[in-house]
Amino acid sequence: MDFHLTREQEMVRKMYREFAENEVKPLAEELDEEERFPMETVEKMGKLGMMGIYFPKKYGGAGGDVLSYAMCVEELSKVCGTTGVIVSAHTSLCCAPIYEHGTEEQKMKYLPDLLSGKKIGAFGLTEPNAGTDASGQQTTAVKNENGDYVLNGSKCFITNGTVAGTIVVFAMTDQKAGNHGISAFIVESTFPGFSVGKKEKKMGIRGSSTCDLIFEDCVVPKENLLGKEGQGFKIAMQTLDGGRIGIAAQALGLGEGAIDEAVKYTQERVQFKKRLSQFQNTQFQLADMHTRMQAAQYLVYAAAMKKEKHEPYSVDAAMAKLFAAESASDVTRRAVQLFGGYGYTREYPVERMMRDAKITEIYEGTSEVQRMVISRALGVK
């Protein structure tokens, strides 16, 4: 395997770093404190092509590759987990399924605004009774006399929910058919009968908007069916495979960001007339933390490169997300420990990183789901 980045990937990483340092890091604390969505940052990222990195220029994308997208989420998340997940959910969960499963008309209609960041994307699969068991969808889509679909039901925990203009939504078109009765739709937030419900108050990624979506006789035109009727579950699972690369990259960035902060702090803080970095405990802790995140990076990048080459990557994405998420939680927790009492205060960013990291073990497939995917690939039943 070639672990070298191309010259374009090196260049794009440099650009993400400059952008993250100058435009994202200064806002991170405020977004967390005030639970504020960074609309101004999304606007800037849209202009720079960061909201449509790996999609063709024909649809308004930047013409990059999947690894360059993962690196973007990683670099943003090093300084702000909120900004990282906004890009991840928008790209992987909304732009990707429209690009991969949409008709040419759907792509031409929806992708240019999404990929330029003029509209933000979201993904509506989870329901109060359909979390890890996504097949338990209770939202229904019934055809009316015009052949259009009438959606009724609600979704919960929807990332980018309050700000999204375009949402990929899943609903039952045939309740008797189980998984095969689920269909996917492209829903615009302006459709009558669509509304945004309660906004969640979260432990971490507090600047990202997470909310309920409500459908009350919401009419979705028949041309907005994504894929064919009954293909929704397959589309959802394939979309989540890609989403896992994004969340794994978010976890990766959070862990790496915490190490950056800990390296800096332990070289400044003096106890017992020595810098903390001079104690072997600090050195060994940081060595272990860095090794874990480096291993996570290899897993994440390998999954991204497989997706780019259209090779099967579902298990790779599951392993990348499982390992990166659990490593991020471990590493951010250890970073707080290295900071001691100051790490527990909001004066330093590591407590925020620790809170942000926890969600990466839960959303877009819990760590337990990733273990199910991985063990099944081993033939363990």
Binding site: E8, M11, L48, G49, M50, K57, A62, G64, S68
Partner: protein
Amino acid sequence: MKIIVCVKQVPDTSGKVAVNPDGTLNRASMATITNPDDLNAVEAALTLKEQTGAEVVVVSMGPPPAEGMLREVIARGADRAVLVSAREFGGSDTYATSQILAAAINKIGVGEEDIVMCGRQAIDGDTAQVGPQIAEKLGLPQVSYAAEITKEGRTLTIKRMLEDGYMTIKVNTPCLITCIKELNAPRYMSVGGIFECYEKPYEVFDYNTLKDDPLIDSTTIGLKGSPTNIFKSFTPPQKGAGMMLEGADKDTCDKLAGILAAKHLI
């Protein structure tokens, strides 16, 4: 219309500055960046490009690895790049460099509506000489220290920022402008620009390309043609952050007067 922007790859002096025993900079051991003032010139050119549709050509003199920097400028929005690179050009001081760059700009061609832009000065040499010298060699009117540029037809109105005030002057194209950091905030490279930048036109002008220009003479280029001798290189001492007093009231004025009196300045 064409805008030719001169850029230089310089050592990143925000880190540690490495100096050779002979006093020259140890460039090989230092990370490189695009000279900051030159990025202001690039931004000014790209802004004019958006207003007028002008072509932006970026030119640099340096060793072959400077291609990476030129590609980055293309990724910000420039249309094509020229690297001026030859052993014969090595060791040039500002006099020789401006001689060679002027020849390269002649080769690219400066038309009636064209503009040449440079940063005020490079952070490694801090001379601010190359831009003005290029203008002299090319016989172009020059405006240095540009802090604001507006264009109407062939006339540019430029606000120059000087130590003791501003000066606004008008100049017609073709002309050369040197830009300062107050002029604008350089844009980032774009993702789309990065993935296209290696497909955009890129040329290398070597000694043979430029040798027929009357400016290129073995006595005026390279180390031999450089009258400058480096006496000593050093990192300037860090200045203190200074103190800002805010407010236009009597208390603030009294405080200011008190500080100045305490230092025996008034």
